[in-house]
């Protein structure tokens, strides 16, 4: 069997690798959202977090709260609101939300896919 008789030619392999790359790219594009925390203040997107860390949230120069993201879950510390419901919510994972009504803050941890829980009752 000479070189010409191989099952795959170079251009065939290139085609297959390209298709696999497209497939993985699409998959990665979808799963990347799993690590995205979006923070809305007054209905407007204020911050988008993708890396672990501590983030202070301000609205028009006024301190509101500290948002802690550990890469897996997100929670709130040192909020300036009276009832601290946002702090009491604790650590939430993908698909979860933390709400601060007095400050009109919504912290949304984007869920991985459309499968799973659509909405929480609490």
């Amino acid at each position: 069997m000479n070189k010409r008789d191989k099952l795959f030619k170079k251009r065939d392999l290139f085609l297959i690798i390209s298709l696999v790359a497209v497939f993985l790219g699409l998959y990665w594009g979808r799963t990347r959202d799993a690590q995205t925390v979006e923070i809305f203040v007054g209905g407007k997107l204020s911050m988008r977090i993708r890396t672990a860390g501590s983030y202070e949230l301000y609205d028009g120069g006024k301190y509101l709260m500290k948002v802690i993201f550990d890469g897996q879950k997100v929670h709130v510390e040192d909020a300036n609101c009276p009832l601290k419901i946002c702090e009491k919510t604790g650590r939430v994972g993908p698909g979860g939300v933390i709400i601060c009504v007095p400050n009109k803050v919504l912290i949304k941890f984007r869920k991985i896919s459309s499968e799973g829980v659509d909405v929480m009752t609490w």
């Binding site: 030619k9 298709l19 979808r30 009276p82 009491k88 919510t89 459309s114 009752t121």
Partner: protein, 350 residues
């Protein structure tokens, strides 16, 4: 000749293999982009009204975005109309009067429903606890954090101003009167009513619309997901914010939950929360979370509050509340989960 046949076969195999790989790749891409991805036809609107966070997820051929805004406006209208802390609201007008107050049909119907639900639950749901709620400091969520347990004398005094026997409805002249200084607080029913109104206005605009409306964890289904599938509703673990204790699968109806974990303060290791027992004047004991599934949100909202108040009588709640139109999932203080038998229907994928 044999060598030529072999070459042709190899060439054919290669083409078939390439065709198969291409086909599988295309199918995978179509599957990922079309089936797993959230359908773009659903529009989501979030905002703050009804004293909480609201989320509207709707799909309509007549314009999802416009419909979501129409629904939000309706929620906000009801919030302003029945907010006891808004001096311009109809509730403030009624609370400020010692005499008969003429009211519109919508207010009359809601008050009548509140009285009926109160009687149905032997007073566990009580729309006249305004004075008691104010005494505990749970009336204004954005101002001061409650931190004081009222004295027994103060509670006794506040309870004298509560009870639906102090709420009179005149069906002939469509008016209402509060007796003996009673004050209305429709917190246990107004959110449910707003969700039911959201459903009504949505169906008036487009009877085929689908989606759901959520207000602070209470949910009204507008129609099945993608027209046929159930919405998956997670019931929050009352002691672990991001954990789920049960999954409910609904294509219609409503869900409401009352819990002791949102608005509360602690003194000496005792948790004092905002759901007050009209019989004692103190925060209700026995349950830490009550979820009710019903055909409409008014029933779900009121029964979840009543079920929470009657937490120590959990057998009665899980077995009798279905007769009032609500199936119950209750978490008692010891962490046990108690269910109405028919809850199993909602906990199975259909």
């Amino acid at each position: 000749m044999r060598q030529k046949d072999s070459k042709n076969l190899l060439k054919l195999d290669r083409r078939i293999l390439l065709a198969a790989v291409s086909l599988v790749s295309v199918v995978l891409i179509i599957f990922l982009t079309s089936f797993l991805k959230s359908p773009p036809s659903y529009y989501e609107l979030t905002g703050f009204t009804l004293g909480t966070y609201c989320r509207i997820v709707v799909s309509s051929k007549k314009g999802s975005k416009v419909l979501a805004q129409v629904i939000f406006n309706e929620l906000d209208r009801i919030y302003k109309k029945f907010n006891p802390n808004d001096p311009a609201s109809v509730i403030s007008r009624i609370n400020a009067s010692n005499d008969w107050v003429d009211i519109d049909e919508e207010t009359f119907v809601l008050l009548d429903a509140a009285v009926r639900l109160s009687k149905l639950t032997n007073g566990a749901f009580d729309p006249t606890l305004g004075e008691l709620i104010r005494l505990w400091g749970f009336d204004k969520i954005a101002e001061t954090i409650p931190s004081r347990v009222p004295s027994p004398k103060e509670i006794e005094e506040a309870l004298k101003h509560a009870g639906t026997d102090k709420l009179e409805l005149d069906f002939q002249r469509r008016r209402v009167r509060l007796l003996n200084g009673a004050k209305l607080d429709l917190g246990g029913i107004a959110k449910g009513y707003a969700l039911d109104r959201a459903y009504q206005v949505a169906k008036e605009v487009d009877k085929d619309c689908t989606g759901f409306v959520e207000a602070g964890g209470d949910i009204r289904i507008l129609g099945p997901k993608f027209g046929s599938r159930p919405w998956v509703i997670g019931v929050r673990n009352p002691r672990q914010g991001d954990a789920v204790i049960a999954y409910l699968y609904l294509t219609s109806g409503a869900v409401a939950t009352s819990g002791d974990y949102e608005r509360y303060f602690e003194i000496g290791g005792v948790r004092y929360h905002h759901i007050l027992d009209p019989r004692t004047g103190f925060p209700a004991r026995g349950a830490i979370s009550v979820t009710v599934v019903a055909d409409n949100a008014v029933t779900a909202d009121a029964l979840s509050t009543a079920g929470f108040v009657m937490g120590t009588e959990w057998e009665y709640v899980v077995l009798e509340f279905p007769k009032f139109g609500g199936n119950v999932l209750m978490v008692t203080e010891d962490g046990s989960i108690r269910r109405s038998p028919a809850m199993a229907v909602y906990e199975q994928t259909r």
